[in-house]
C-alpha cells in the first residue's frame, strides 16, 4: 500500500482550521497588509463581503481573541494594547437560526426573542474573552465583583442566582440562553413561547464593554471588536438585528460583519425601519473585488499563500520566501515564445494540405465553387509549414478579407507577401503584428481544437488568474492538481515540476467543482445555470469561429435598462453567486456614449467551455440578445442569436439580415 504524500491544499475552508492552523497558514497582503483594507481598530463598522472563499473567515478569525493570544505569547494585555482591539468572534452558522420562525408566533415575537438570544450569546462570548484576557490582573480581580454587579443591574435578576465572578455570571447567562433553547425547540409542540425578556435589546452588547473599560484602566485604548461571521445564515428579519447593532454602535465597541455577497438580505434596522447606508453607518469591503482590482498584489499574495502551504506540508523544503522564489518551477509551463513552436510541433509531421484548418478552408472554397487547383493555390500561399501558428494567423487574415468581400486569390497573395515581411520582422507588416498581438491565444486555442487536442491551462500564473480573486478557488485548483499529479505517480514539489496532464486535469476538475459549488440555491438556480451555459456557449462559438472579432472573449456589456426584468434578475443572481464578475467602470456604448454595465464570465468556469482565462475583448449585447440568453426558457431565441452572430463570423459570412451566400472573388 502506498501512502500518498500530504496534499498541502487539502483544507480549503478556514472553518476547518484550528486556531493554530489559522496562525500558521496566515499570509498577509503584500504592501500594507489586510489591516489597511479592514482595520480592526477602526470604530467604523464594516461589512466584509465577497464571493464564497474570498478569505473572509480566515481574516476574521485572525482578528479573534483566541488567535490574537496565539500570535502574542506572553503578556496578552500588553499585546492587546499594541493591537488596539480585542476580537470577539461569532459564527452565525451554529445558531440554527431557522428555529426562530413561524410555529404559530408572530414575526414581532420572534424578532424580540431572537434579539434577546443574540444579546445573551454575544455577552457570554465577550465575558469569556474578557475573563480570559484579564485573568491574573490584580486590578481586575479587585474589580470583578463590582463588574458583575453592574452587569446584573442591566438585567431583570428576579429569580436568578447571585454571581460575583465572571465565570459564575457566564453560567447564569448560559442558563438563560438554554431556557430559550428549550422553549424555542418545543414551541412547535405546545405553541407556547415561554420566554422572559430580561434586558433591553442591545444593552448587554454595548454596556458590558463600557463597564469593563470604565472599571479597568488597562483596557484604555482597546476596542471591543465584534466579529459576526456568516451573516448569510440569518433571515432578513434576523439580519435587521445585526444592522440595528451597527446603527446603534457605542464606543468602545465596533463591528466587522462577514457575509457572502448573495447573503446580504437587508440594510434595514429595527429602529423604525431606518436603513443603514454605506459610508454613513458602515463601510463595505468586497475582498474578491479588491483582489481583482489589484492584480499584481493579488498575484503576489497568492504566491505567498501557496508557498506557505507547501512549507507547512513539507517543512524541510525551506522557508516560505525561498519556496516563493522557486514556485514557478514547480509547475510545467508551456512554450510562450512568439510562435509557440514547441506547443504546435504536433502539426509539424502533418502535410500542409492535410492540416485540419486547411482541409476545412478547401471545403469552404469548394462550396463556393472554387476549383481544387485554386483552393490549393490559396492554401499554398497561406502556408508556413514550420510555423503552424503563423499559418493559422494567415488563415484568420484570409477569412477577414473574405468577410470584407475581397478578391480571394488576390487576398491570399497579399497575405503571403505581408507574412514574408512579418517573418523578417519588417515593421511594415503591421496587420500581422497587430493581429498576432491580439489573437495569439485564440489562434492557438483554435489550432488545438482543430487538431482535437485539449486546451492548455498551464503554469502558475494561469492557475492564479483563473482563481479570480477568490483564494479558495486557487486552493481548489491546486488541490485537484496535486491529486492528479500524485495519481499519475509524481511527487509534487520535489524534483520535477507538476506535469501538464496533471495541471490540465486539475484545472478541469476545479472548473466542474466551481460550477457545482456556485450553483444558485432556490427557485432561480436552474435558470441561472442555463443562462450561464448559454452565455458560455455563445463565447465559445465566437472564439472558435472563422473570424472572431474580439480577442480573449469572456466579457459582455449591455444596456440593462430595457431588458426583461426576469433577465435582469438572473444577471444579478449570477453576479451575487460569482458566476459573473462585474467590471468596475462598465463599458461606453460606441453609439450612444452611455456607460453600460459590463460583466466577465468567472474564469473558473472558462475551462469548461474551452474559453480563455484572461479577458481582453468584450461584446456588446443587444436587448434581444440579453433576453435570449438570460430570460429563462428562451432556447429558440437563443438559437437565433447564435445563428445570427455566427453567420457573420463563419465563411461564407452571411450578413445577419440576409440568408444568401456571398461568393466573393469568384469567376472574375
Amino acid at each position: 500500500m502506498t501512502q500518498p504524500p500530504p496534499n498541502p491544499f487539502n483544507i480549503t475552508k478556514a472553518t476547518d482550521f484550528s486556531d493554530e492552523q489559522i496562525v500558521r497558514t496566515w499570509v498577509d497582503l503584500p504592501g500594507d497588509g489586510f489591516f489597511t483594507i479592514a482595520d480592526p481598530t477602526s470604530p467604523m463598522p464594516m461589512i466584509l463581503s465577497g464571493g464564497k472563499g474570498s478569505g473572509r473567515t480566515h481574516l476574521m478569525r485572525y482578528f479573534s481573541y483566541p488567535v490574537q493570544k496565539l500570535r502574542h505569547p506572553g503578556d496578552i494585555l500588553a499585546s492587546l494594547k499594541t493591537d488596539g482591539y480585542v476580537g470577539v468572534y461569532l459564527r452565525c452558522t451554529g445558531l440554527n437560526a431557522g428555529r426562530f420562525h413561524g410555529k404559530g408566533q408572530s414575526s414581532e415575537v420572534w424578532d424580540v426573542v431572537f434579539a434577546y438570544y443574540m444579546d445573551l450569546w454575544l455577552t457570554q462570548l465577550t465575558l469569556q474573552t474578557m475573563g480570559e484576557a484579564l485573568a491574573g490582573q490584580p486590578e481586575f480581580l479587585a474589580q470583578q465583583p463590582g463588574i458583575c454587579m453592574e452587569i446584573l443591574n442591566i438585567i431583570d435578576t428576579s429569580g436568578l442566582p447571585q454571581a460575583s465572578t465572571i465565570e459564575s455570571l457566564i453560567g447564569v447567562l448560559h442558563q438563560l440562553q438554554r431556557d430559550i433553547d428549550v422553549s424555542v425547540n418545543n414551541v412547535a409542540l405546545d405553541r407556547r413561547l415561554d420566554v422572559n425578556i430580561r434586558a433591553t435589546r442591545g444593552e448587554l452588547v454595548f454596556r458590558i464593554p463600557q463597564i469593563f473599560t470604565r472599571r479597568f484602566s488597562g483596557l484604555d485604548g482597546i476596542q471591543i471588536l465584534y466579529l459576526v461571521d456568516e451573516l448569510e445564515n440569518l433571515t432578513e428579519a434576523q439580519q435587521r438585528y445585526i444592522q440595528t447593532l451597527i446603527r446603534e454602535r457605542e464606543a468602545p465597541t465596533s463591528f466587522k460583519v462577514g457575509a457572502r455577497r448573495y447573503g446580504l438580505r437587508t440594510y434595514k434596522t429595527l429602529s423604525a425601519d431606518e436603513e443603514n447606508r454605506e459610508g454613513s453607518e458602515f463601510q463595505m469591503v468586497f475582498l474578491d473585488r479588491d483582489h481583482i482590482e489589484n492584480h499584481a498584489r493579488y498575484t503576489n499574495f497568492a504566491r505567498s499563500l501557496i508557498a506557505r502551504r507547501i512549507v507547512e506540508a513539507y517543512p524541510p523544503i525551506g522557508s516560505a520566501d525561498q519556496v516563493a522564489e522557486k514556485l514557478d518551477g514547480f509547475f510545467e509551463d508551456m512554450d510562450r515564445t512568439p510562435y509557440m513552436q514547441a506547443e504546435t510541433s504536433f502539426l509539424a509531421a502533418q502535410q500542409v494540405e492535410e492540416r485540419p484548418y486547411f482541409t476545412k478552408l478547401k471545403k469552404q472554397l469548394s462550396a463556393i465553387h472554387f476549383t481544387n487547383r485554386e483552393a490549393s493555390e490559396i492554401v499554398n500561399r497561406l502556408s508556413v509549414p514550420d510555423l503552424p501558428l503563423v499559418e493559422k494567423l494567415n488563415v484568420f487574415l484570409f477569412y477577414q478579407d473574405w468577410s470584407r468581400r475581397q478578391h480571394l486569390l488576390t487576398a491570399s497573395a497579399s497575405i503571403a507577401q505581408q507574412c514574408a515581411h512579418y517573418l523578417k520582422r519588417d515593421p511594415a507588416a503591421t496587420r500581422h503584428v497587430q493581429a498576432m498581438a491580439h489573437f495569439r491565444t485564440d489562434l492557438f486555442a483554435q489550432l488545438l481544437r482543430d487538431s482535437g487536442q485539449k486546451q492548455r491551462y498551464l503554469g502558475l500564473s494561469t492557475l492564479i488568474d483563473m482563481s479570480a480573486g477568490l483564494p479558495r478557488n486557487l486552493l481548489q485548483i491546486l488541490k485537484y492538481t496535486f491529486k492528479w499529479a500524485s495519481f499519475n505517480g509524481q511527487e509534487p514539489f520535489s524534483v520535477e515540476p507538476i506535469k501538464r496532464d496533471a495541471q490540465q486535469s486539475g484545472v478541469m476538475e476545479a472548473s466542474h467543482w466551481f460550477f457545482e459549488d456556485a450553483r444558485v440555491v432556490g427557485d432561480h438556480g436552474r435558470e441561472v445555470e442555463q443562462s450561464i451555459e448559454r452565455l458560455a456557449t455563445l463565447f465559445r462559438q465566437l472564439r472558435y469561429s472563422d473570424k472572431p472579432v474580439e480577442c480573449s472573449l469572456i466579457t459582455f456589456s449591455a444596456d440593462l435598462s430595457f431588458v426583461r426584468q426576469e433577465a435582469r434578475a438572473v444577471i444579478k443572481l449570477a453576479e451575487e453567486w460569482s458566476l459573473l464578475i462585474s467590471i468596475p467602470g462598465g463599458q461606453r456604448d460606441r453609439n450612444t456614449g452611455a456607460v453600460d454595465p459590463k460583466f466577465e464570465l468567472n474564469p473558473m468556469l472558462c475551462p469548461r467551455w474551452d474559453l480563455p482565462i484572461s479577458r481582453r475583448g468584450a461584446i456588446s449585447l443587444s436587448k434581444a440578445e440579453v433576453n435570449a440568453i438570460f430570460y429563462p426558457l428562451r432556447e429558440v431565441e437563443f438559437d437565433t442569436v447564435i445563428r445570427d452572430r455566427l453567420g457573420r463570423m463563419m465563411a461564407p459570412f452571411r450578413s445577419s439580415s440576409s440568408a444568401s451566400e456571398a461568393l466573393p472573388g469568384f469567376g472574375d
Partner: protein
C-alpha cells in the same frame, strides 16, 4: 461508457477514496502492459472499465465490517432472545447482564490456519468490539485428550457457543472442510449432555458459497455481513457490471480478454476459482475467486503484473502450493 479520460477520473477517485492508493496511474499502466489488446483504445477502455468495477474492502471497511458482524450476527440476536424470553423486557441493565453471561460462555476462533487471514481478522474483531482477550482461542485449544485414548473432550469448561470467524467465503470449501471439527464438537457435547452451538460468521460471502456451507455442514448458522449474489458474477446472465442495455461489445471484449489471459494464468479456473468470476479484493489479500487477471502474481511463469496482488497459500515447507 466513459472514454479513457473519464475512466481514469473514476479510477483516480477510487484510488483516493477506497483503494488506499494501491492503483496509481503508473501501476495501472504496468498492469495494462500485460495485455496486447491495449494497443487499441477499445481494449484499453474495456480493461479500465473492468478495473473501475472492482470492489475493494480496505482497512477502514474491514474494521466497520467486523463491528457489523459482531453487532448483527451475535449481539442483537442474543439481545432479541433475552427480551423474548423475558416478556419483552426493556430493562437495559438486565439485558446487558445476560449478554455478559452469554459472552462468558462463548469463544471466538478463526477458521483456518493461525497464519491465515482469519487470525488477522480476529485481532480487528477483538479491538473494534472491545472484547476481552480470554474469549479468543485457537484451534489447538478446542479439544483435550486423544481420539485413540478415547478421552477426547472439549477443553473450554462452561463454554456452550463457538463462533468461527472468516473474512471471505467464495465456494465455501474451507468451511466445509471444517465440518469434521464441528461434527466432533457437537458429538462431544451431546455425549456430555451439554448442547454445543457452533456458528460460522464471515464478512463477505457469495450466496452460493454460503448456501453450500449451510447445506453441507453442521454449523448451527452461517451468516455474513456482505452477501454477493449472482449479480456479482462478472459475465453471468444477471451481471450488474453489464446490465441489460449496456454495450454488448464491451462485455464481449471484457470477457474475451479475461478468459484468454485467465487461461494462461490459472488454467483450471480462468475466470476465478470454480468459475466465481468475482471482482472483489480485501485489504490483506485478494480471493482466488476474483478474475485471475486482477491478482495473479506467482513466482513462476507466466510473468504478470497484478493490480491487486494475491498472496497465495503455500501449503508445505517445500513451497508447493
Amino acid at each position: 461508457m466513459d472514454d479513457e479520460e473519464g475512466l481514469y477520473a473514476k479510477l483516480k477517485l477510487l484510488n483516493e477514496r477506497l483503494w488506499e492508493g494501491r492503483a496509481s496511474r503508473p501501476q495501472i499502466i504496468r498492469w495494462l502492459d500485460n495485455f496486447p489488446e491495449t494497443a487499441h483504445t477499445a481494449g484499453k477502455c474495456a480493461l479500465l472499465y473492468l478495473l473501475s468495477r472492482f470492489m475493494y474492502f480496505g482497512d477502514n471497511e474491514i474494521r466497520e465490517l467486523v463491528r457489523a458482524l459482531y453487532r448483527d450476527c451475535y449481539r442483537y440476536p442474543i439481545m432479541e432472545n433475552v427480551r423474548r424470553d423475558h416478556q419483552h423486557t426493556t430493562d437495559v441493565s438486565f439485558i446487558h447482564s445476560r449478554l455478559a453471561d452469554e459472552l462468558r460462555a462463548t469463544r471466538f476462533l478463526a477458521l483456518g490456519n493461525p497464519a491465515e487471514s482469519g487470525t488477522y481478522l480476529l485481532y480487528y474483531f477483538r479491538q473494534e468490539n472491545k472484547l476481552p482477550l480470554d474469549l479468543f482461542i485457537n484451534r489447538t485449544q478446542l479439544f483435550t485428550g486423544g481420539l485413540a485414548t478415547g478421552d477426547r473432550a472439549l477443553r473450554q469448561a462452561g463454554v456452550s457457543r463457538y463462533i468461527f470467524i472468516d473474512d471471505f467465503c467464495g465456494s465455501g470449501n474451507q468451511a466445509v472442510y471444517y465440518s469434521r471439527v464441528v461434527r466432533e464438537m457437537k458429538a462431544i457435547g451431546l455425549a456430555a449432555q451439554v448442547p454445543i452451538q457452533v456458528h460460522y460468521y464471515v464478512l463477505v460471502a457469495t450466496s452460493q458459497g454460503l448456501h453450500r456451507v449451510r447445506r453441507k455442514t453442521q454449523f448451527d448458522s452461517a451468516e455474513c455481513v456482505v452477501e454477493l449474489d449472482s449479480s456479482y458474477k462478472c459475465f453471468g446472465d444477471e451481471s450488474r457490471y453489464f446490465p441489460e442495455g449496456s454495450e454488448p461489445a464491451l462485455r464481449e471484449a471484457c470477457e474475451a480478454i479475461s478468459r484468454k489471459h485467465g487461461a494462461r494464468l490459472y488454467p483450471e479456473h480462468p475466470l476465478g476459482y470454480r468459475d466465481s468470476q468475482l471482482l472483489v479484493g480485501l485489504h490483506h489479500n485478494t480471493p482466488n475467486n476474483t478474475l485471475p487477471i486482477i491478482w495473479y502474481a506467482e513466482d513462476r511463469l507466466p510473468q504478470w503484473e497484478p493490480i491487486f496482488r494475491r498472496y497465495p497459500k503455500t501449503r508445505t515447507a517445500g513451497g508447493a502450493a
